[in-house]
Symmetry: C2
Subunit: 462 residues, 2 copies
């Protein structure tokens, strides 16, 4: 192993290699709850695709398991290292290489955080619209999990906003996929295949992201409802209206209480209204023109009232921002409250009401707490589960996931499967598809060095 | 072979099987120019995924090459059958199974045409936004080539508007990918991998497409420019404006003359303006509200003038519709004019001017005609090539494609590679990527029965 360490140090430079006990605890996990940490043998911090290529060649040669790491803010353990493996940390590959105002794209290295990208694109009056809430998240990590977030209802998720990649294959080959154009029909779409593959197919070393004009004006409406079903019934109506909200979130009463308490946020909702509310809708609107936006706010307010909202509050700048930030930080609120798991099931939005009813029933039956909020427009339900007993929790999650699949949904909308949900995925997914995915994995990574144990269990001899 | 025919007839019913000389000429080709037809041994017309599954199992057993066929309107020969192979024609699988107004999706069989889908969604005040021009095209064919079209500048191409598939693998296994939700992060995205694979990976038997609210009002602006570079420079400015055009096309003077002549279309442009114009921009705007649309038209008109348009014509309903239809039919106009090839290179839109200059130089050098129009917002350039000599034409195309790749583009933006552009693709694409794609193909289709010879040359022993 001394030999491996020396060769790794040769590739990235001695000061960019950590080994053994010198590896800080932070590299042993991501933000997935209820997961044991994994102790890697090495953490290498490459500065270029060529260095990543050399690392992967060496890893193949020595059958060293490789885990890519951005900011480590993932929630499914896809950045939890293999025991005695190699972490490739992209913290030094953190440059925004280009903001191209003619093609409305940026080319970024994977270690760039969303807040850094936001700052750089703001200078050009453009914006990258994927906002999974955690602004310290890296673009590379977002590519790995196909991150979504609040604005997906208008702008789509990561895969809708990444046009191309530079990526290093397990063999060390460096490829470029896609490009600066929004379309291509020239062979299989490797960009899309790599996005969401959780570090198991290839390591992205450059990402071409789509940028949109940064609209000058936005407004946030908050609508309490006494009845959860009405919240859910309102969602398709709001989308049909053509108002094109960029935010369309639901927050249940428990979660609203928790996040407003934590954020010390006074929304001016009378106690009587608050106490009678089962859930809230948050509707964000934006536009080029403030007069039109004001008119849209009027229309949306009227529509929400028609759809059964108890009242409609148009939040002013600071309180709107605080509410959105508090919503973005819901995970941390849940963690601080002692949550045992956070999941992000996706179902057709027409099934949300039925799904949530069932999830709560299952929670009650297993004496667990199940509360949450979610991207209502996308049918993406974030549930916080309170249940200390691992066996009970596992059974509860299985029931919740199985019901989601039964109504036409999937286990994860944006967090990924990682290691945390792997056995549910393998139990609930069609074996024909899992086998096909395994063959695809092998096409990319015949030696099986890239994030083994993520998505699938490694098979002997693979 | 008699045995095979009997078993095929057993699967689809005798009257839904054509064999040998009873096969009409229409099944021997698609609309790709300059391609020899291919004579299949059988044409089978299944009515269900189960029948498609049985067909593929039989094809695997007998090493029968399988070509999927929708409406046969493709332009790259991906629906040209293998000699003595089996054509699976989806003409009987042509039902819109569901228009879901809560989730804003439709579930359709692959043989549904775009005009049928448009009619069904109109009834629900929704719309499927992929309009590749040819409304007789099938949704299945669009999935095969990842079709684009004029509205892609606002709504994206097929892959951005298909949320899930039912698909039959070469083994006969029937899988479902994706679903009615706009997001999932649950294993590799098989939907996206199958889209654009030109019938080489799997046969789609159901397609879940995303629908958008059908906006009530639209307007079309036509702006002539004396200088081609100004047309191209105007494009990013229009996009930055936030006006969100749903159409942003350029048409060169030659093509405009041809399509208006063919369509007997009088646009009211004075001769002096017309004679001084190198190219035109067509800008389509749409909205919920007619007053806002009128205001947007004003803004867009002012912007176009600022950007150097000689004049700006706001086309009234009938002439606007006729121009768009004439533009959609540009391929047929070109075909009628004796065009030898139609290509659809894509480049970063900032490179369009440089690319077109080079394409025209190459055309002149080889004594060929090179004219066209294209989806300016996407950098997708449709070039019509007039050159009867196959060797000269091939060399010209190679030069054009190579330059497109050199400036960061790709051979095809929406028509696909098929058989027509295969040798250019194999010559210009990174071998590491081609090899990876071959391995992916093998993961899906180990026996190599699905559209052999499309994208790649079949390898002996595969």
């Amino acid at each position: 192993m001394g030999d491996v360490a020396a060769r790794l140090a040769e590739i990235v430079g001695e000061k960019n290699l950590l080994a053994g006990d010198a590896i800080p605890e932070d590299y042993t996990h991501d933000e997935g709850l209820s997961l044991e940490p994994g102790k890697p043998a090495y953490v290498a911090k490459p500065a270029s695709a060529d260095e990543v290529s050399a690392l992967l060649k060496l890893a193949t040669e020595h059958s060293l398991a490789v885990t890519a790491r951005g900011s480590g803010s993932g929630l499914s353990g896809a950045a939890r290292p293999s025991e005695n493996g190699l972490v490739v940390s992209f913290e030094r590959m953190n440059a925004v290489l280009e903001v191209d105002t003619e093609n409305h794209v940026a080319i970024v290295q994977p270690g760039v955080t969303l807040s850094e990208l936001d700052e750089k694109t703001a200078a050009a009056d453009l914006t990258y619209t994927v906002y999974p809430g955690e602004l310290s998240a890296s673009v590379g990590g977002n590519v790995g999990t196909n991150a979504g977030g609040m604005r997906a209802v208008k702008y789509g998720v990561t895969r809708n906003n990444v046009l191309g990649l530079q990526a290093v294959l397990a063999t060390g080959e460096i490829i470029r996929t896609g490009g600066k154009s929004a379309k291509t029909s020239t062979g299989y779409d490797l960009t899309q295949l790599i996005i969401g593959s959780e570090g198991t197919l290839a390591l992205a070393t450059e990402v071409i992201v789509k940028l949109h004009p940064r609209l000058a004006h936005s407004a946030t409406l908050l609508a309490p409802f006494t009845d959860f079903d009405k919240v859910m019934a309102a969602v398709p109506e709001i989308i049909s209206s053509g108002l094109a909200p960029h935010i369309l979130e639901y927050i249940d009463a428990f979660t609203m209480a928790a996040i407003t308490y934590t954020a010390e946020l006074a929304l001016g909702i009378p106690d009587t209204v608050r106490d009678a509310s089962q859930a809230y809708l948050v509707v964000g609107l934006e536009g080029r023109d403030s007069d039109r936006l004001d008119a849209d706010v009027e229309i949306a307010g009227g529509l929400l009232s028609e759809l059964g909202a108890t009242d409609v509050y148009v939040l002013e700048g600071p309180s709107a921002r605080k509410l959105i930030e508090a919503r973005e930080k819901a995970f941390w609120t849940a963690k601080a409250a002692g949550a045992d798991e956070v999941i992000d099931v996706v179902v057709p939005r027409s099934e949300m009401s039925k799904f949530l009813t069932r999830a709560k029933e299952l929670g009650t039956a297993s004496e667990s707490g199940v509360v949450g909020c979610g991207h209502a427009g996308d049918g993406n339900v974030h549930l916080v589960v309170f249940q200390k007993d691992a066996t009970k929790r596992h059974a509860l999650l299985r029931g919740i996931f199985a019901f989601a699949v039964e109504v036409g949904g999937a286990i994860s909308g944006e967090h990924g499967i990682g290691v945390a949900k792997k056995d549910h995925f393998l139990a609930l997914e069609d074996p024909a598809k899992v086998n096909l995915m395994r063959r695809l994995k092998k096409s990319f990574d015949p030696a099986g060095i890239l994030n083994p144990g993520i998505l699938f269990d490694p098979v002997l001899g693979e």
